[in-house]
Assembly symmetry: D2
Homo-oligomer: 154 residues x 4
């Protein structure tokens, strides 16, 4: 209970082509089996995707501004499908690393590889296919965003 509090960045950070974010497990994330409720990992990974886009916007500002010009009313990623493996349980008070990185970046969809780790143990691994939605409709992914993702990746 008394481990010292880590200094971290509120929205995580981009490093080695991936977004890294620390998530503490709270009561709300667990269920009466004592472990983390399986759907809670989807919430953790959505926080990772949202922050990945947020930091990409700061880091690759010129490319992001091009994206915003193509989608002036704003845009978001919407999950189309996911394949998820629950490998080990996590527990109350655990600190998880949520790592998000582009896996396949195509014109119509992006597949992200997302992992929840506790130190070096892999807890959950998912491949998440997202579409780019703007103005309430799925759109072709703007070239600038594909470049920004690629730039993050190298």
């Amino acid at each position: 209970m008394a481990e010292p509090s880590e200094i971290t960045s509120l929205d995580g950070e981009l490093r080695d082509g991936a977004h890294h974010m620390k998530v503490r497990v709270f009561y709300e994330d667990t269920d009466f089996s004592k472990a983390v409720y399986h759907a809670s990992y989807l919430r953790f990974m959505e926080r990772g995707r949202t922050n990945f886009l947020r930091l990409l916007g700061t880091d690759q500002r010129a490319l992001f501004e091009d994206t915003e010009r193509e989608a002036p009313s704003g845009f978001a990623f919407v999950v189309r499908s996911m394949q998820i493996d629950f490998l080990k349980p996590a527990f109350m008070d655990d600190i998880l690393d949520v790592v998000t990185q582009p896996d396949q970046v195509r014109g119509a969809s992006i597949t992200l590889l997302q992992r929840c780790k506790r130190d070096n143990e892999l807890i959950v691994e998912a491949r998440v296919r997202v579409a780019f939605v703007s103005n309430g409709k799925a759109q072709r992914i703007p070239r600038a965003l594909r470049l920004a993702m690629g730039a993050a990746n190298h």
Copy 2:
């Protein structure tokens, strides 16, 4: 585990001036303490308020149509404050009765009395003050809605 499944009404029912609704406790509602997570009761009570309004709309259709005329773009209750007592724990697989009834119906706000019970045991009791919001703004509560609430109450 093997108790026979109760026949119930999907949205609960109005009876004796109150809305009654059965809620089954699932994994998602519990936490690692083994009991129901405290914020889950707010979700149960919100389902009760939503269904109370839904059934009032069927039961008191004429009064509700008057309300809809005063709020043509739709309306909702928004919680302004609540006083809530967590009296006993509830557990996985429990069936709770969520009972919602008007407590004070005034021009600017309505206070609802909401109870979660397991058979005759009171688990949670709350007084919930809601405002009537239409068109994105708090509005005076339409007379027809106040009458519909009063009619439900007698």
Copy 3:
């Protein structure tokens, strides 16, 4: 808002080898995109799996008692992996049919096919591989449970 309330069975029902359960979409299930939040479907499907097991216990009582003899301290399904497709959005006040059926029943794991439908529209479809956990450990699936699942299926 004023559609009459359906009579339903609190825990859903077994029919044609599948478990069927109605779920109403509430505020808690949606997000600011206006549609149902993607992880909410995992909560709906977990309710389906829990109730499927519950009703199987009533319906196939003799086989279930054999299972309980093999797992005297209780048992549960734990999700090992899932493949999930989010095909269409669902919205506040929608009534969804959550349909759960055995897809592959093997010694070490069961794959369930789960679908969330709104009338005849398929909203979400998932294949969910679960392990049988008793006494805190994954166990071979008792023959009686495999038979009960098969019996439900025919």
Copy 4:
């Protein structure tokens, strides 16, 4: 979207007798009204209480070790009642300050004052009465914990 990421402490910090913690609003926290779902604030405040206890354990280690001696199987705060005011809406991407401080520390219960703020705007304010639970039962609050809370407060 592109504001630079704040450096923060994962578990918040103790300052001026209060626990301060930043919480980012994600999709999961909102509902289709576009604002934060009312029960989400209870999740934010529970994170605040959990981290307040965690940091108190680090900061006032000697007093905490006395507490742990009196409750060797571990202990937790359990919410008995709360009075909560929802003053203004918060929205997706907002950063909230969750501030937790002892209000009344008595032998049988502690009342915490908890506030969610966005810059200088007060969004939610609550008084939360918690009991000290150890070994599955409510216990008198150990003198050392009362001292640790008092020490945090000055």
